[in-house]
């Protein structure tokens, strides 16, 4: 455990060294927050509620979604691809720690750094622009935090699964971008799925993606009734467990089939 904490600490220190990166990210995110709030204002244009959510709810949804986006950045896919390409995966595997544990610790370290560098400033900017994004209630806030944590793990496992492809393909190429974009759209991070037509929505709700953004966000703004929250959280836990099992099986397979380039 101590070694994983050390890795996380190093990552936080590294992240702190890149000031320009932080400032430009915050600027982009403020832009997105502002543009989306204009979008929702134009869309609602006086309407009270649409699909059970008010304009105020949607602005809260967008603000929190943008903040979550910064905490959910995953380095694991590129990390695996890079260590496969350079061959350093051999050294990683030799170390007396679980390498996926190290990768997770790295991402959690990035997440912790992003919390202070990006999430907090963005929350402040969001509060100045639109007022504080209030959760539906204190209970909803706690449920949101739990749901967010599980969503984080699901997101991490999906990224790690993509990373495992690199063992076979040696490079991820357009896969990373495609995954990022598809996730962004299908997880409800921009437009919640409850605005989509019923058939399409049901398909997307059966996929794991919505558990990353939409479920925690929906809980936060009070879109779901209590019993629905329980049901969906159970489903979310199921996805997390199922994906983890899949990842564990594949990861063992890949380690056996490993190809070291350039030793």
């Amino acid at each position: 455990m101590k070694s994983y904490l050390f890795v996380a600490k190093i990552r936080i220190q590294t992240a702190l060294a890149y000031r320009f990166n932080v400032i430009s990210t915050i600027l982009i995110q403020c832009l997105i927050m502002y543009a989306m709030s204009c979008f929702w204002a134009a869309a609602y244009s006086g309407a009270e509620t649409v699909s059970g959510a008010s304009q105020r709810d949607m602005i809260t949804y967008t603000t929190i979604s943008v903040i979550m986006g910064n905490l959910l950045t995953m380095g694991v896919q590129n990390r695996i691809a890079r260590s496969v390409r350079t061959g350093s995966v051999a050294l990683d595997l030799l170390k007396p720690v679980n390498i996926y544990g190290v990768y997770l610790a790295e991402d959690l370290g990035d997440c912790a750094a992003a919390f202070f560098q990006k999430a907090v400033p963005l929350l402040l900017v969001g509060t100045v622009l639109f007022g504080f994004p209030m959760p539906a209630s204190a209970v909803h806030l706690l449920l949101f935090l739990f749901s967010f944590a599980i969503g984080y793990l699901i997101n991490w496992i999906l990224a790690a699964l993509l990373g495992l492809c690199a063992f076979k393909t040696l490079t991820l190429g357009p896969l990373v971008n495609a995954k990022g974009f598809i996730m962004k759209l299908l997880s409800g991070s921009i437009f919640p799925l409850w605005f989509f037509p019923a058939g399409f929505r049901q398909v997307l709700e059966a996929l794991p993606f919505m558990n990353i953004y939409q479920l925690p966000l929906g809980i936060y703004i009070g879109q779901y009734a209590m019993d629905e929250i329980m049901l969906r959280t159970a489903l979310q836990l199921f996805w997390c467990a199922a994906l983890w099992v899949l990842f564990d099986v594949l990861q063992k397979k890949m380690a056996a089939a490993i190809l070291i380039q350039g030793g």
Partner: protein
């Protein structure tokens, strides 16, 4: 005359080499085709679903939005084809890659612009065309010569504006001495002002993107003019203004690039 012919032959060779190097990895290309098709088509589909719920966004129905979206993706794709090299200018500066341009007896900007021809950009153009044609059908656009000319002007202008902004941001590295990459930030900005109608923003933001940072010309104003012409505001079609803005910005960014090269010191070794 001889010089011009020489330049054309060099450009042709450079373009051919770039294409060949891209074809070297066919799976990469196929991957990009699939990834980009899925990305832009889903991207538009989600906007359509949301607009269906609300009726319209800033006075625009999904038909006009499809037209706008398609136009935006097309000019994005074209800009990626011609100007991808601007994304890495900071690193070229740090690594001393510009040395080889300075050593050759040819125009600097010509060499830079024709250094790369990114075939992969066409993978954006395929889904762009899909959404664009869908939009054209939905808004019942008459395929007259006039309209086609307006569309081509808009695409040329929009591509130049995008390229100019990229090149300008890339040239900043000559002064900041850091390979800072603005691609994400600029991309996000382009998306916000070229995919969504400008009418969703307050007046001052509209004015900002029309006059100060003329990004609304990439798609919004010319498309608005094509879909619902309002005679009398300007003596020329908006598409012509887009082309003019594009040419002006691009010339401006070439000047900045040249000035930046004046400060170029190559790599340390």
């Amino acid at each position: 005359m001889k010089t011009i012919r020489y330049y054309i032959s060099v450009a042709a060779i450079s373009i051919r080499q770039s294409i060949q190097s891209r074809l070297e990895y066919p799976f990469m290309l196929i991957g990009h085709v699939l990834a980009n098709c899925i990305q832009w088509v889903i991207g538009f589909a989600t906007i359509k679903f949301v607009v269906d719920q609300f009726g319209s966004i800033g006075g625009w129905g999904y038909e006009s939005l499809a037209f706008l979206y398609g136009m935006s993706v097309l000019s994005h794709g074209l800009a990626v084809v011609f100007f991808i090299q601007t994304w890495g200018m900071g690193y070229w500066m740090i690594d001393g890659e510009f040395d080889r341009f300075l050593l050759r007896p040819m125009n600097l900007i010509f060499q830079f612009l024709f250094d790369d021809f990114n075939l992969i950009g066409f993978t954006d153009i395929i889904p762009g065309l899909m959404v664009f044609v869908y939009g054209c059908v939905k808004v019942h656009l008459t395929p007259s010569c006039g309209n086609i000319l307006l569309i081509l002007c808009t695409l040329a202008g929009g591509t130049l504006i995008r390229g100019a902004v990229w090149m300008f941001c890339g040239s900043m590295s000559f002064w900041t001495r850091s390979p800072a990459n603005f691609t994400d930030m600029v991309g996000e900005l382009f998306e916000r002002v070229s995919i969504y109608p400008l009418t969703i923003y307050p007046r001052w933001v509209q004015a900002l993107f029309t006059f100060l940072l003329p990004l609304a010309w990439i798609t919004f104003w010319p498309v608005k003019d094509i879909l619902e012409p309002e005679p009398g505001i300007l003596p020329v079609p908006m598409a012509a203004v887009t082309l003019a803005v594009g040419l002006l910005l691009f010339t401006g960014s070439c000047v900045v690039f040249r000035a930046g090269m004046g400060r170029y010191e190559s790599a340390g070794s």
